[in-house]
Amino acid sequence: MRPAPVPAALRALSLALLVATTASAQLIPWTEPPTVVTPAPVATSAPTPALAAPATKPKAKAATTPDPTDTALPLPPSSTDSSIWSVLSTPSVFVLTSFAASDPGAVRADSSWVGQVTQNTSSITVAGTAADDNGWGATGLALNAATFTSLSITAQRNVGNETPTLFLQFEDRNSLTKVYSINTSLFAFGTLTTVQIPLTGWTVDFGPSDIAAWNIGGGSVGTIPFRMSFDEISFGTSAIPEPSTYAALLGALALLGATLRRRR
């Protein structure tokens, strides 16, 4: 269906004008259900090579000495690591961003975050008049996330935040999107908290092996205040036990306890 130029006479009659994982951080497994249940992911375009694991040193987060340049966050001294392609102590973790100034990532020009983000040594603080649209992101990437099973976000809420949910949008090379969300109440006020999400929701028409961009924020159109600080986003392969697994473990413990009591 192609719109057509409208003759002046018809134009006059037109009706509808549309106005128209830091050492100190608290690890909280994500408790919400996955956003969607999907079949096994299928790449929609030629897969890019998996990320190499460069021999860069891990991002050190010793939690004891606050970073003097960080005014809003009780952050430890930053390492000299300047690569987002760093791999932490276990090769199964991939740091998407540590929010260092040298990391790919910037305020989105069309967002309410313009002029409202403070770049700290290895974190950002969103304040001022920033609203709940996704205001920070990176483009031009070639990231293969197909093998990762979890996503960790280290962040904190700050005073005045009214945004109830944090949204992370991934975009593949074909501009198809996949969105993950986390209730912001899982992030403590004024204290860095790491929240882990299972990556179970890659949809059939999204290419997780060919991620070209990501952005983060309140996932809305900018109507309520957003006040958070971000420290790190990373992918992982650590399995997050299902509730049924916890139930099975508890059951086994109960059985063991009963057996021991009977023997006594």
Binding site: M1, R2, P3, A4, P5, V6, A9, L10, R11, L13, S14, L15, A16, L17, L18, V19, A20, E32, P33, T35, V36, V37, T38, P39, T44, R108, D110, D133, N134, G137, T139, G140, P164, T165, F167, L168, Q169, E171, R173, N174, S175, T177, K178, V179, S181, N183, G201, T203, V204, D205, A212, A213, N215, G217, G219, S220, V221, G222, T223
Partner: protein, 356 residues
């Protein structure tokens, strides 16, 4: 390429009867006409509240004989392999009978066969819909042509025409925004590269000509040209209620085309009713209520259904009753659900059948 034929400028609905047919029941669907104007320097929301004409390809109406997790089949369809699954000329399937009447799916890869269409539906396992199958009593469907950036807004290729203003600089071109689920995807026509592009693209990035414009979603368009942009579209008015899939994770927004060919109101949409939306969350406190957002031309108006007062209300607006707030024809709405859904039905919203 489907250039329109402008038939009339009377009411948006109206005129001729298109020869749309169903497998068993001959039906007529009125043809509608809609003009949308975007003044210079301004941003408007819009959607196309019509179906394109039925394709001349064989088997565009029929009944489902089998359903898999990501596909549907009609053993008697005789579809041309690959004809409906090309990214350059996309198609949708709409269910026309059964409890899921009005639900629409994208036809996607792998390529369709003579009897099978592979569908995408935001991660849903199609078998959970319990669609009736069978040559005589199976769920009815119709296949509807869709659009891409290139097929709807055109290109500068020989024999084609670009409807919007392109430029080498994204800040000088008309800007088209598609909601990605949590942020906008910004597109423009790059006249240097002679193709559609993202505003963040480099020349090495792929062409965006074939980016799919979902018929069940809205768009935003910022006019950067010095004259108003007037878009006119003609199409078949829906004969069944539009049952739109929306995201049901906590507080997620979905930008939905209401498929209303004429002006409507919040009260008439009545999304708070259970026959329209499963579990619409109503409250006297907007922070607890599901939200509907409408672009005013300069800002987003947020509405919620106040179940204590029994009407729609605008957030922060002292005027209590907004049931009569007009949503112009073709205007899409953002829907924000506060809580996550669990079932397939939880993910859909039924908009009224146009003209009812």
């Amino acid at each position: 390429m489907r250039p329109p034929l402008i038939l009339s400028a009377s009411l948006l609905l109206a005129l001729a009867a298109s020869p749309a047919t169903h497998a068993q029941t001959a039906t007529s669907r009125p043809v509608g006409y809609l003009v949308q104007t975007i003044p210079s320097g301004q941003t408007r929301s819009f959607s196309i509240p019509f179906d394109a004409d039925l394709s001349s390809l064989p088997g565009t109406v029929g009944r489902l004989t089998a359903v898999g997790a990501t596909y549907v089949e009609n053993s008697a369809a005789g579809w041309t392999p690959g004809a409906f699954s090309s990214s350059a000329t996309p198609y949708f399937v709409r269910l026309t009978s059964g409890v899921h009447t009005g639900r629409t799916f994208r036809i996607t890869s792998p390529a369709n066969t003579a009897t099978r269409l592979n569908l995408a539906d935001d991660g849903l396992d199609l078998t959970t819909l319990n669609l009736a199958v069978g040559t005589a009593t199976g769920t009815g469907y119709e296949i509807i042509p869709g659009d891409t950036l290139a097929t709807f807004f055109g290109t500068t290729a020989a024999g084609d025409s670009l409807v919007v203003q392109g430029a080498g600089d994204p800040l000088a071109a008309d800007l088209l925004q598609v909601w990605g689920g949590a942020a906008w995807l910004n597109f423009y026509y790059n006249t240097t590269w002679s193709r559609w592009a993202r505003d963040t693209d480099a020349i090495t990035d792929p062409s965006r000509n074939d980016f799919l414009l979902r018929s069940d979603r809205g768009l935003m368009l910022t006019r950067r040209g010095t004259t108003p942009l007037t878009l006119a579209v003609v199409g078949r008015v829906l004969a069944t209620p539009q049952r739109a899939v929306h995201t049901r994770s906590e507080n997620a927004l979905t930008f939905l085309a209401t498929m209303q060919a004429g002006d409507t109101t919040l009260g008439a949409l009545a999304l708070q009713n259970s026959d329209r939306t499963a579990g619409w969350r109503a409250s006297a406190d907007p922070a607890q209520a599901d939200i509907l957002l409408v672009w005013s031309g300069a800002t987003w108006f947020s509405f919620f259904y106040n179940n204590v007062a029994g009407h729609w209300q605008r957030v922060g607006d002292p005027t209590p009753d907004r049931d009569g707030f007009v949503i112009a024809a073709g205007t899409p709405v953002f829907v924000q659900r506060r809580t996550a859904g669990t079932s397939a039905d939880d993910k859909t919203i039924s908009f009224p059948t146009p003209g009812t």
